[in-house]
Symmetry: C2
Subunit: 381 residues, 2 copies
């Protein structure tokens, strides 16, 4: 698949409390921005993929509600769901459909309305045998505590991740929580699930993002410098890592495996990556993920954060967009939103949050929690 | 994609009230039967697709619960959802992943537990503005009544579809309702939504099905006569046909469009098809579908049924398996189960329900209701 698929258009809504826009409206806002960005008419789209985790009551509205709204008449629209890796996996499947030679141009969408779910909210995670506390903060905190015990990580280091990502997000007009926070604010925030205080957790967010991809050999018709898909990987590991007796609570094998698949396809090493959008649902998750992605040995992620290596002007900027932490996390949208950030950065159009002259960017989702990861590597054409 | 993907293994559970087997167990029953049928080890599977419409509470358990059970360690497993077209669309995406050249061998799964959903049941269908009656029987009955009014179809003809499909299903050890019914029984059954009596409706069913596909050029290593994928199409039409002012209530454009895509890819005409597994969620749906698939002009489907042309020994056998009507309809499983029937028939291994010497078979799902259809054409290698 390497170098056979190009991204020629992107779109992303303002993330946040979007009570004033419906699910379909958010998707259209992102899609029509992408149509315009690519300079195409919807009639040129031959197939679409939609990443949504919770499409409303019992599977309610998803692909079938979109044909008219997106001006995609009688075309294929497939919904992909893979927990918090939904968005990147939708993108991966769009790329496979192009690489198959069946479609020349595909629209990839990610969208979620999390604030409008009435009393239902996000369902409990984890295994049915797990009782109280099997929420995302609870389960990621279990791993974070073990990690802290093993490597001596301090809450001050976790707080630095939040400070950095909010600093980046404050530069981003589309971020949900567009504000800086201080290390003191993060440390003094109410505890959600120790060691995570409120500012260690990403918010609950509405939003949608879109990417238009096409055959790489056709891409120059639409853009002078299209961004190319270099590699993609998806890995599902043990049903629930928390029930796997070999799980060490120090990181997620799914991320390691998905990254290996993507690097092998791209023919690169982790050290070739210039910046990454990484799944920072909690501050600890970013630290663990950058280790699992191979950017540093296990246990040294905190040091990278402490030394500022992951800052916008650091050696390896992580989450220049603001990440899930500040940009927000509408589950199915996040992966596609990460792709749009990678494209903006690789085009050199990120303005105040521009990473210096990047060649290769990476987008990474982990979900399940921990059971599934998806990694996409994008590069300048 | 034509002739580039082969089916080398299939598996299917007994369909029915499967309270004694969990969702994951049903999937494993189907998958391990398929591993055995292909003569492969799970380690040879490089990626998997899972079609499930309602994976438990709020998106609960789907792809991430399967890795260990299926012996697929650190591999990609993607859930696809597309209403009642979920199973065939999962298969279509598995085929695209092979055609992309990224994976040599892929496992496609379809599964649903509909009997274990507690008080929740199947969610209401249709548009949120629709109030009472927006169930599957209610919405399909709206179209059936208009069709009856326009073409003068009689309930006796609807009943003949049920009689035929139950006759086929009675020959099928894995069918849910493995029994024959008489025309009188069908006509005298309690009315669910006029013109549909109880026996005009498919049952609510648990079940799982599996197919193993691989690169066509590698297929002969595994089977002397693999079945080839000739074409596939997916079409999403107007968000809800019932809200489209141009909808004539006489059939579904999504089926017409998906069939055209599949026929064009295969380079065939509808008249080349030797038998078809068609989405007979209600007796009327089969009649309308065989018209939309191009097997006869609109309004003449009833005559084909009346004349016995769709019987096992007829000109164009429809639903030799027993169809959704008798075999059952675990939503995400049905499309993959149809693929397994096509393969069994094309191999000439269908025993008492064998269609005479078929070269080309077709599997068709419609969902939404009516908004999405998926068509797959399979042929002898």
């Amino acid at each position: 698949m390497k170098d056979r698929v190009a991204v020629i258009g992107i779109g992303c809504t303002k993330f946040g409390d979007r009570f004033e826009r419906s699910y379909e409206e958010l998707i259209c806002d992102a899609a029509f921005e992408a149509y315009d960005d690519a300079g195409i008419d919807p009639a040129q789209i031959e197939a679409a993929y939609l990443g949504t985790y919770l499409p409303g009551s019992g599977g309610g509205k998803a692909a079938v509600s979109l044909a008219d709204a997106l001006r995609l008449y009688d075309r294929p629209i497939t919904r992909v769901e893979n927990y918090c890796a939904t968005g990147t996996d939708a993108f991966r499947n769009g790329c496979l459909a192009i690489a198959a030679g069946t479609y020349d141009m595909v629209l990839v969408l990610g969208a979620e309305k999390l604030k409008d779910r009435g009393g239902r909210g996000i369902p409990r995670l984890g295994h049915p045998l797990l009782a109280r506390g099997n929420t995302a903060p609870g389960l990621f905190a279990l791993a974070a505590n073990r990690y802290i015990h093993t490597f001596g990580l301090r809450r001050e280091t976790l707080a630095k991740v939040a400070v950095k990502n909010h600093r980046n997000g404050a530069l981003n007009p589309k971020a949900h929580l567009r504000m800086e926070v201080t290390e003191e604010q993060v440390l003094k925030a109410p505890i959600i699930a120790w060691p995570f205080g409120l500012f260690d957790c990403c918010p609950t967010t509405d939003g949608a993002a879109a990417a238009i991809i096409c055959r790489a050999d056709l891409a120059k018709r639409f853009r002078k410098a299209p961004v190319l898909v270099k590699g993609a990987g998806l890995a599902v590991t043990s049903g629930r890592p928390y029930f796997d007796p070999t799980f060490d609570y120090l990181g997620f094998r799914s991320t390691q495996a998905a990254a290996q698949q993507a690097y092998a396809m791209a023919g690169i090493a982790p050290s070739d990556i210039d910046f990454a959008e990484v799944h920072d649902c909690f501050t600890w998750t970013e630290i663990s993920n950058i280790e699992d992605l191979g950017f540093c040995p296990k246990g040294e992620g905190g040091r990278l954060e402490e030394e500022g290596q992951t800052a916008l002007d650091g050696r390896l900027p992580i989450n220049p967009s603001g990440g899930l932490k500040s940009f927000g996390h509408p589950i199915g949208a996040s992966g596609v939103r990460m792709i749009t950030e990678c494209v903006v950065q690789l085009r050199g159009e990120a303005g105040k949050r521009q990473v210096k002259d990047p060649e290769l960017g990476l987008a990474h989702n982990v979900g399940g929690p921990g059971a599934v990861s998806c990694v996409v590597v994008l590069g300048r054409g």
